[in-house]
Symmetry: C3
Subunit: 212 residues, 3 copies
């Protein structure tokens, strides 16, 4: 598979899975079917859209690919009619979001490399592509953004995977393998955090030193 | 009237009316006159700005038309000095917002068609142009976004009207009439929802099937 | 110093100081080190990024200057390890934010003038560059946005300074001095508001006139 088709595949997969999470948030807000499509689209294309804008690549990726919007609408309809079958929609949401993060970050890394970005900007584009759609979803829906969850790896998982991808490419690895390793790292870190409580130490305010 | 001037007229009208709603939200937050201008601008130009960015049409529409920003400032000053005359500012806000939605959606549809977009992207641009300014207004002001109001047609009204517009153009109608029909559909759906309670069924969680 | 290097210096300074405020907000949310970097970046580059997008200048300013992202990361690490030394992190946040506003507004004014914008758009770009990063920071972190603080000059300080800058340039002043006067005006208005309670009258709803 060529690099360009791998990146396109990652883009499609991340749009689809993030769209499912957006529709699940719409179900928690008890919206109608168009509300489901709206949140599915905001979440599905938010990250990649911002990435394309920042890289100066307009029109953005989905303007020339209308089938992406139809895929999003299909995902929203599916969730509208089946979400009640799941015992814990929030748990489903969290795991789908982890999966989407694991494909969106390498998609962002790949697009940045194709655009000729250096390593630092490549890592930034991976993190932005991975996190922005979910952040828009949670902010508009008034849910606690996953990026703010204390003691969980989220941005950190995206950052770690993007770093692995950029480092492998810098060391001469093939871009395809670097993107796969990037995505697996993101998912492993996020899943390990959810399942086993992996985390980094968080900031804890200590009382100022005694001056007496 | 040529299509280009019809689109420009719709753009002006939607900027003006959305600006009035932004200033009304500023009055609810009891800001000073510059705060009024700020929210009027965020709401008035938010949707069209995002549309232009997504279509890769930078600089955005108001950069070459400074009179739009002066119009917004005038709207903000007007509301600052007269809002107290209205018995229910929230009701006024809702109806102005419906009117703004009814002109912004066809403006978005028209710009997308002029830019050569296909039907799916055209519908998406109509919805984005119509809803994004109000969404930014409500999110920044910490009000419940109108897109989240249960059991009311809001995104759905924008979507229905954009669909009518794109369908008419696809069937060979003149673009001018298609935009007029688009705007009337949006306003009728939104107004009918506010006045008569029109809505679509919303998602309601059902208990999972009994497994016993 | 040439105008271009003055603008670059203002851009660097505003990125650095806004990044410090973003990291302070991350400390209030008790995030991990990557969460600190994330909020530092969102706040540090948010305003200038939106400005570049609106002016149609993609890729945005930091894509070609990766050292800016490294500067942001360094600022985040510094705050992660030293924030507990300050008695009132919120007070420190407010004063750093005022300083950042005072350098970001003239940076926005300068870039707009370099891009050939007229006076109205120049003022708007100054206000947007100054306020958007902090607004994104507060909205994502679920803090009360500083733009909404009643009875304090915030957007008004940015607007006043941008107006002074654009007016001086319009009257034939050197651009360098105009930017310096712009920044000093912003900081003086914001600091005066915090220290001495300077403000503009805010909107206060009055009861509707008696009709009897």
């Amino acid at each position: 598979m060529s690099l360009v088709s791998l990146i396109a595949l990652l883009d499609y997969a991340s749009v689809l899975v993030f769209a499912l999470t957006g529709a699940l948030v719409a179900s928690r807000a008890q919206l109608d079917i168009v509300g489901f499509i709206f949140f599915a689209a905001l979440t599905g294309i938010g990250g990649g859209t911002l990435r394309d804008l920042l890289l100066g690549q307009g029109p953005v990726f989905w303007v020339g690919r209308p089938e992406l919007l139809l895929l999003i609408a299909a995902a929203a309809v599916l969730v509208f009619f089946t979400a009640h079958l799941f015992e814990s929609r929030y748990n489903l949401l969290l795991w789908l979001d982890a999966l989407a993060l694991g494909v969106a970050v390498p998609a962002g890394v790949g697009v940045a490399i194709e655009a000729g970005a250096g390593p630092v900007v490549t890592v930034a584009m991976g993190v932005i592509t991975g996190t922005f759609g979910g952040m828009a979803r949670d902010t508009v829906a008034n849910e606690l953004p996953l990026v703010l969850k204390q003691g969980e790896l989220y941005v950190t998982a995206a950052f770690g995977g993007a770093l692995v991808g950029a480092a492998l490419i810098g060391m001469g690895s093939s871009q395809g393998w670097a993107l796969v390793a990037c995505g697996l790292t993101v998912f492993a870190l996020r899943a390990g955090s959810m399942a086993f409580g992996w985390n980094l130490p968080t900031y804890r305010p200590r009382p100022p030193r005694n001056k007496g």
